[in-house]
């Protein structure tokens, strides 16, 4: 069984996905050089011809390529987890990049702390925005988990034990019903279940900001996360009681 499944998801990124794939392969190379066994999985959701073409030779680079038809990032990720068998799963969107040390350093954390969900220290935005976002570590005493009720401090491009995804699959996006932000909901559910969201020092995710991204679309349409225990005052009252 592999140590890590490095999974890239794609849809309509076209040639940009090639850049992301290169970044993934670099990180895989570093991880393998450190002795890790890494599976590479490409999961394309209703891909455009241009995107499919980018991965035409992916199998020759050691990747497994799968096509699905969900039009839903959460379902795509759930499907990818089902396809993988590795102990830990790391996702990369088809237009973003990892720092090359990501897989190796995140895995180091995950094996040390089996309940950890590893996030990069920094999200480096480029393209439409050029901001820096240093992700919080849940174990920082200054971190107030109530922030999770108001905002989503982490995204889904993390490395987590495969069981975290199996026990807490991403919920379906249903914008017409007013629900989206499935990554936020996943963070709520994993937090409530006892997983610990940690950051991996010295690691970076380079995230392309495009106006048409699903996140931007969700923000514009007044949608919310699905209900979660973590949004429930009863959960917080119980937490107050036992502390």
């Amino acid at each position: 069984m592999a140590d890590v499944a490095a999974i890239i998801t794609g849809h309509a990124e076209g040639v940009m996905a090639g850049l992301s794939f290169r970044s993934l392969l670099d990180a895989v190379e570093v991880a393998r050089a450190g002795g890790l066994e890494v599976d590479v999985l490409v999961v394309l959701d209703n891909p455009t011809e241009a995107t499919r073409a980018v991965f035409a030779e992916a199998e020759s680079r050691g990747a497994t390529v799968a096509e699905v038809s969900y039009a839903d990032q959460g379902k795509v990720r759930n499907s990818a987890v089902e396809l993988s068998t590795a102990d830990n799963v790391a996702f990369l969107d088809g237009d973003d990049l990892w720092s090359e040390n990501w897989l190796a350093e995140a895995h180091r954390l995950c094996v040390t702390e089996p309940a950890a969900i590893a996030h990069p220290e920094l999200n480096w935005f480029f393209g439409g925005q050029q901001n820096l976002y240093f992700l919080p570590d849940q174990t920082d005493p200054a971190f107030d988990p109530a922030l999770l009720r108001i905002a989503n401090p982490w995204d889904a491009l993390c490395m987590a034990p495969r069981r975290a995804y199996l026990e807490h699959p991403f919920t379906a996006r249903a914008v017409s019903e007013g629900y989206a932000y499935e990554d936020w909901h996943w963070n709520l559910e994993t937090f409530a279940a006892g997983f610990v969201h940690r950051v991996v020092p010295g690691t970076i995710h380079f995230k392309r900001r495009r106006e048409g991204s699903q996140y931007v679309q969700a923000r514009a349409s007044s949608v919310l996360t699905r209900p979660s225990d973590l949004l429930d005052y009863a959960w917080w009252a119980e937490r107050d009681r036992v502390r």
Partner: protein, 471 residues
């Protein structure tokens, strides 16, 4: 982060008295004879300036009474600049309290030392800054990055006023104006009289988790900016530079110089941190974790015929259920004529933007998981329905009370925007009900969801118990 700009060094022998005549400010706003600075705590060669109005004006201009009051345990000083500064000179200064959130003695000493200047023993560092540091244009806080600020407001570079002085006087009260990479120091919407009270939004950040800090030395906000600056500085390490270069070799856009770069890092510098704290304040203040019905009202006004009738009908239909009344604009609760729990959002969310107040109401409504949400006259409540009604309608029954405004206008905007989402609505009068039914050519089934006050007692229980609120 570079924020020190050297413009002019005073002649040590002259006591920099020339600058005493250059400060802006209202000369009448301070009485030098009543509140002169303590001569013995000033630098020796500046003691002759102790009674000069310019120094007193500087002191008054940088004072943040609420921040000071929190340190000395005198809440009454929080809203009174003159009383706070007088108290500071009388006792707080000697006790080491900070009158200004934009002065940090340790930062000042460090930056002063970088210029080869030291605060002599026995001289108070704050008074040293008022006399020497101000003339040196030395920024005594991590909460203001002069280079960053000037880059965003280049007109200030050639103006008559030092950029930091402008920030102290005006910039720190401007909504959303950022003095560092880390955002606007928790800027929200300053209260209308924030400038008069010298209570800029940054004071909220200074006082956040105040119990965890010795406010005379540091604060949550300052610690956060220091740690954030450390993270930024670490990006210059060879390891991080190499990682960025490797990625930029794949995607050159990564290395493009940013036009403008914001840096955010929870737990300290995230725009939703103080909203989170407000939401937690409300939750803890409320105490209860469940409400069968949440009623959202503006507060400060009578309940009105429609709301009173609706409350009575709900109570009749569900005598054991609990009702939570939420005020959004005025903490004074209306009398609904029934037993109800109450909670106010107006006070804890003071200074927050409309959007953040909405998030606060949303947090409360989803937090207590009601079976029913009733909006009655609250603009924020109506916005909750229009923004998130589709989602909330999956989780609870939605309802409203419709009443003409004080000047007789019909609530047509609210009605149009939300009626499709509502399981029922009560109108203050039968005439209003008929008018709405006629105006919108409502079909019989839709019209049946509109209930007048007169029909409330008989019709509303049927609507409530008839399956419309299964949520």
């Amino acid at each position: 982060m570079r924020s020190i700009r050297r413009r002019r060094r005073p002649d040590p022998g002259s006591g920099a008295a020339a600058s005493d005549h250059l400060d802006n400010g209202d000369p009448g706003a301070w009485s030098a004879t009543a509140d002169s600075l303590p001569r013995e705590l000033l630098p020796a060669d500046h003691r002759h300036r102790a009674e000069r109005p310019a120094l007193a004006r500087r002191l008054r201009q940088v004072a943040h009474p609420r921040f000071y009051a929190a340190q000395v345990g005198e809440p009454a000083l929080a809203g009174d600049v003159d009383a706070a500064t007088a108290h500071f000179l009388a006792t707080g200064l000697a006790a080491g309290a900070r009158i200004s959130g934009l002065f940090n003695p340790d930062v000042y000493r460090e930056r002063l030392a970088a210029r080869g200047i030291a605060v002599a023993p026995g001289v108070d560092p704050f008074l040293h800054w008022l006399t020497v540091g101000w003339d040196e244009r030395l920024v005594p806080t991590v909460l203001f990055d002069e280079d960053f600020y000037l880059a965003r407001h280049p007109d200030l570079a050639n103006g008559p006023e030092w950029a930091f002085a402008q920030y102290v006087r005006a910039g720190c009260y401007a909504p959303g104006r950022s003095p560092t990479h880390f955002g606007p120091n928790y800027g929200g919407v300053p209260a209308p009289d924030a400038r008069e009270r010298q209570d800029p939004p940054l004071v909220d950040g200074l006082l956040h988790r105040a119990g965890d800090y010795d406010l005379t030395r540091t604060s949550w906000l300052e610690e956060g900016v220091v740690r954030g600056a450390g993270k930024l500085a670490a990006l210059a390490s060879p390891q991080m530079q190499a990682l960025v270069a490797k990625a930029a070799a794949i995607e050159p856009m990564i290395a493009e110089p940013p036009r403008e770069r914001w840096v955010s890092w929870p737990p300290h510098t995230h725009p939703m941190l103080l909203p989170t704290a407000h939401a937690e304040d409300v939750r803890r203040q409320l105490g209860l974790v469940r409400a069968d019905t949440v009623v959202v009202v503006p507060g400060g006004t009578e309940a009105g015929a429609g709301l009173t009738a609706a409350a009575a009908a709900l109570h009749e239909a569900e005598p054991g259920s609990n009702v939570l009344v939420v005020t959004t604009d005025d903490p004074r609760q209306p009398d609904l004529g029934i037993k109800a729990e109450t909670v106010d959002l107006r006070v804890p969310w003071t200074g927050a933007t409309e959007h953040r107040r909405l998030l606060g109401l949303l947090d409360l409504v989803r937090g207590v998981r009601p079976r029913r949400l009733v909006v009655a006259g609250s603009a924020l409540g109506w916005r909750l329905l229009s923004s998130y009604g589709t989602t909330l309608g999956n989780e609870m029954s939605l309802a409203a009370v419709l009443a003409p405004s004080a000047d007789g206008e019909l609530p047509v905007d609210d009605f149009q925007g939300c009626f499709d989402l509502l399981d029922w609505a009560v109108t203050d009068t039968e005439a209003l009900r008929e008018e709405l039914c006629a105006r919108y050519l409502l079909a019989e089934a839709a019209c049946a969801r509109l209930v007048s006050v007169a029909a409330c007692a008989t019709t509303l229980p049927e609507l409530v118990l008839g399956g419309g609120d299964d949520g």
